[in-house]
């Protein structure tokens, strides 16, 4: 049976090379444009670069005028980030130095010693990070699960007034956080939800829900209905078709939505600042206030910021092709 489909190694994606795009002049222009963009990218990332090197400087190097580029890296920033310290009196310093010779003092204590300080206990940074993880993690999970179901309903059924419903959901995200926190503050104090993990999880779930619903609706719209209908005709109910046929195809969409919600919850500052004080305080507000107490603890702040920044950078790479959708609430599909 003559079948002329040239399956071969799959049709190659041929990059059209037009005659006027291979002339030396054009090539030069092309390379120049590439160079400019690379330079701009480098300049753009200088602040991130500064954070990285400051995190591994000793305090004197960090505040050296003019700013020092070549320096001996030290873990002082990290140690300061994770410990509470007090400056030790000269006599106390002598004792500790002698102990250091007899190798009784741990590495961490010795680093503090060089900076003339003695460690008195762990700082609250770890505790704050844990709060961030708990609150961001659970709220993301809740918002994604809820979003999957409601987004499927919006995508498949013309829910009455769908247009404004979606807008109404979105509007909660369009407002400055402050506008919403004034009434929330009152509600939470009366309901004893102020400064509680539950309170923050509930808020972040709703905060992320509008993004998650819009994103998931976009991903569901891309899955053709024929698959579910084929399953119906094959003898499955609508629910079974949803779980067996639709969800497996939406896995990449769910992953992207989960990560976007995680980033937004992880980065959130305003709600955390106003609705928590001690017990449920997350990392962002605590890093911001760290500057206050420790004086010019720049190395610790840089280390804290770095710790907060690395997961986001990794995730940005993983999400490259979904960024467009996530940032524009799924409005623009690539």
């Amino acid at each position: 049976m003559a079948n002329f489909e040239q399956t071969g190694p799959g049709k190659p994606v041929l990059e059209a090379t037009r005659v006027d795009k291979v002339t030396p002049g054009y090539r030069l222009g092309h390379n120049l444009r590439a160079l400019i963009v690379v330079l701009l990218a480098i300049v753009g990332l200088i602040p991130v670069f500064v954070i990285v090197i400051t995190a591994f400087k000793t305090r004197p190097d960090a505040i050296h005028v003019p700013p020092k580029l070549i320096f001996t890296p030290s873990l002082e920033g990290l140690v300061f980030l994770f410990t509470e310290r007090a400056s030790a009196s000269p006599s106390r310093l002598e004792e500790l130095k002698k102990a250091a010779e007899e190798v009784q003092l741990g590495l961490v204590d010795r680093i503090a010693l060089n900076a003339g300080q003695e460690i008195t206990g762990p700082s609250d940074y770890v505790f704050r990070l844990r709060n961030s993880l708990i609150i961001a993690g659970i709220s993301t999970l809740l918002s994604v699960v809820l979003a999957i179901f409601s987004a499927y309903a919006f995508s498949r059924y013309g829910v009455k007034g769908k247009g404004d419903l979606l807008f109404f959901i979105l509007s909660t995200r369009m407002l400055p956080a402050v506008v919403v926190t004034v009434p929330l503050f009152l509600m939470y104090t009366q309901l004893k939800l102020h400064d509680t993990h539950l309170g923050m999880i509930l808020l972040y779930t709703v905060f992320n829900l509008s993004l998650a619903v819009w994103l998931m609706k976009g991903f569901f719209d891309e899955i053709p209905r024929e698959y579910e209908e084929a399953a119906l005709v094959d003898g499955y109910t609508r629910m079974q078709a949803f779980f067996k046929i639709v969800l497996p195809q939406a896995v990449t969409g769910i992953a992207a939505t989960t990560v976007f919600c995680l980033i937004f919850a992880w980065n959130e500052y305003a709600f955390a600042l106003m609705l928590t004080s001690e017990k449920a305080r997350t990392a962002p507000p605590s890093i911001a206030t760290m500057l206050g107490i420790g004086g010019i603890e720049w190395t610790a702040i840089a280390a804290g910021s770095l710790g907060f920044l690395i997961p986001v950078v990794i995730v940005t790479f993983a999400l490259r092709n979904y960024l467009l959708r996530g940032v524009t609430f799924g409005a623009v599909r690539k």
């Binding site: 079948n3 002329f4 489909e5 399956t7 209908e229 119906l232 005709v233 109910t237 497996p248």
Partner: protein, 353 residues
Amino acid sequence: MSNLELKQITKRFPGVTALNDVSFDVQDSEFFILLGPTGAGKTTTLRVIAGLERQEEGTVLFDGEPVDNLAPAGRDVAFVFQQYSLYPTMSVYDNLAFPLRSPLRRTPEGEIRKRIQEIAEVLRIPHLLERKTAHLSGGEMQRVSIGRAIVREPRIFLMDEPLSNLDAKLRESLRVELQHLQKTQGSTTLFVTHDQIEALTMADRIAVLNLGRIIQIGTPEDIYDRPVTTFVAQLVGTPRINLLKSNREDSTLYIMNSDLHLPSPHEYTVLGEFLLGIRPEDILPHPEGKFAGQILLTEPLGVQTVVHIRSGEQTLSSLIPGMSTLKIGDNVRFNILAERLHCFTLDGKRVQR
């Protein structure tokens, strides 16, 4: 297998009546084709029968029993979609097994494996069973989706233009295979297409649908030789039928603004102006032909040639077997076969003969 009947089905979508009082029946193990241009309501008809759409009026009967309040699952029909016919996340084997594993059937795995082996032999796809659907060519995909329809032995097969996305050569061969398969399986099939060749070649009976209305139901010969409207006449047959404004005075038909005139067959009762339909293959260039014209254009198609002839102001297209040696601008004499003329009123209704 069972037979299917649609009684006065009407389906409305906001702003449009997709199906308007549609009635037809499909006998047991008949290959019935619904032919019509895109947007005629063909797919909607299938979806109503499968229960994927709820019609506003009329009933759908399987073997005489109404099935309107049955969910798609309960109707036990097979639906082969034009695209997206295979579940992308499953292998070919799982695709074929999916309907048999449904809660309604609960077929034991051993039984499933045997059934699938059988079907794979018939459709010559045993080598594909373990492959992921993404790695199949267009032809293989459609064959597996047909396999999935057959494996469950449904009461009725519904097929929504399964061949139209395939490459031309493949379509030819799959058409023949599908017809052979249907005849040997004896499965009641309702096949939807906009391609008139598919309709003429595969159907036991054809229903022509346009703008949600059934225009004509008949065998391929009925539709081709006795079209009830100019729409049906133009829909089937390539190149299209010539429709010439003509006038009848007592017993001769005069074709407007040309000197062509033909003896009027006695059964033609219409008087005055009407539309005369002549199939291109009924216009035969012949050295001593009664009529004369000038060659405008020739289009060799290999097995036959389309010759465009101008006679007076009228241009006619004729179809002659083999390669023609006629040149553009030559004068040509030709005859018109009188026994297969079609005669329509000016608004396109066939004048019964």
